[in-house]
Homo-oligomer: 296 residues x 2
């Protein structure tokens, strides 16, 4: 039987990680849970986030038989990874460590900037993961970026198909200005600390949809690290290791690429919204999203 | 004993209603609950919102002995007022009816615009309340306005005291541009429907903090209705009626104005954030906010 990889986020953002994972493991089976009834985690406390994340992880392992979990949510990875690892009997990978590792590989100066949600920044999980790798990191919360992505103000006001390539709508100009303000504040703070930063980590799974706007806003030569891509890379490698230790050769899921990854999506609220928004993050239709109740 | 008025919101926004209420009923006792662990309600389903709102209302009535409830949350008023009224044995007032009533009093053309959260708009509660008063209403969801208020991008980037009067920060310019885009879309839709709208209802308790920017953005002559003020006005009137029917004259809370309203604030999460953000909405320090657990 093909093993299932459970992917969890507080909302839709983690679908950017699933998208990158499905490209790398086309023969795997995926169960994605978006805890949309209780999003956003980014503004909540560690205690609350851990409780929600553990319930979600248990659903994926107990009800969906996930043999490997990816916490595709920066906030939950920052604040609840330990709690999740204690609560379930399968390997669990978060997004912080892979993001920090990719920053280490990219940075020459050893000075790194991180943008993320409030809760991720206040946890200083990226700073700690960077410090453990000999990097110096400065983090900044950018609370407006998630709602701007969810409103679709990323390129052409949400109606991409109607826009000429490269055209920037008035909505996207607002988003570009918000990014400019946040980055200017962050770069000024870094300069005041004498940091010669050359790498920017996108520490939120919503931010890959802003990558073109962010790359236009950073100083020339600055590397932009997408933690969704970095996590998918690590997860695919770890998962294949795990599988080759545990399974017979016929379950090797990297062996052939004859089929498209099988994805089942679950949400705790608002299935319609998940289906319409989620496809933008997943880069393909989510299929029918199943509503589940985790209580609370 | 002085009776307690319970005021409930999903977050901090309802403190604008409490502020307006405390001005009108300076001798009353207030218990405010912000269900901050589960905010925002605006993007959730009716079923989930009703469950959360009923738990919150029951806390105020059962644990805080509230004899009168104000649902200072447009989303909960739109989607859960019936459920709350069934669940508690005290009078319950929402924000929709007072807002619609104030619009009726203000409008000469009978054509009204409403801006609110996603869930409030999708409920069409304002359209129904306006229609019941012979008004025609067009509603628009403005999901970016709440995060802009919470980020403090309303006048001078959150540091009002540092700014000269009337000066507009680059942050406030972003907010003004977002408001301009939303209103331009709304006015174009109204024009296409042949509506000669002369009144705009602020259908979210966060929006009073944007009132100066909104008033600058509306066409000349358009009236802006603040549903927080309208609700406080109705609540104070209803509460005094209720009290004069139920109580002896010595409990008349409008009789003297010798003291400041006594306010106790409760939150389900992130007490520090509530205290720092809440004072901007309440217009005075919230005092020590007490953390409670409603489950979930």
């Amino acid at each position: 039987m093909v093993p299932t990889i459970g992917v969890f986020d507080s909302g839709f953002g983690g679908l950017t990680v699933l998208r990158a994972l499905a490209t790398r493991l086309p023969n795997a089976r995926f169960a994605f849970l978006g805890d949309s009834a209780r999003l956003p985690y980014g503004s909540k406390s560690r205690r609350t986030i851990a409780r929600y994340a553990v319930q979600s992880a248990q659903f994926l392992v107990r009800e969906q038989n996930a043999e490997f979990l990816v916490i595709a949510c920066n906030t939950a990875s920052a604040l609840a990874l330990d709690a999740i690892q204690e609560a379930v009997p399968v390997p669990v990978l978060g997004v912080i460590e892979p993001g920090a590792e990719a920053a280490r590989a990219a940075s020459r100066t050893g000075n790194v900037l991180v943008i993320a949600t409030d809760a991720t920044v206040h946890s200083h999980a990226y700073a700690a993961a960077c410090q453990a790798r000999g990097l110096r990191a400065l983090e900044k919360a950018c609370p407006l970026l998630v709602p701007l992505v969810e409103e679709g103000w990323t390129t052409c006001g949400g109606a991409d198909a109607d826009c000429a390539a490269g055209e920037s709508s008035q909505q996207a100009k607002v988003t570009a200005e918000v990014i400019r303000i946040y980055l200017a504040e962050l770069l000024a703070d870094a300069a005041a600390l004498g940091m010669n930063a050359d790498t920017l980590v996108l520490g939120c799974t919503h931010y890959p949809l802003l990558r073109p706007l962010i790359e236009r806003a950073v100083p020339a030569g600055m590397r932009v690290i997408d933690s969704a891509e970095a996590t998918a890379e690590s997860a695919a490698r770890l998962f294949c290791q795990h599988e080759s230790e545990e399974s017979s050769p016929d379950t090797q899921i990297l062996a052939t690429q004859t089929q498209v990854a099988r994805i089942r999506c679950f949400a705790t609220d608002s299935v319609e919204k998940f289906e319409s928004l989620g496809s933008r993050f997943l880069g393909q239709p989510t299929g029918k999203v199943e509503l589940i109740d985790l209580g609370g």
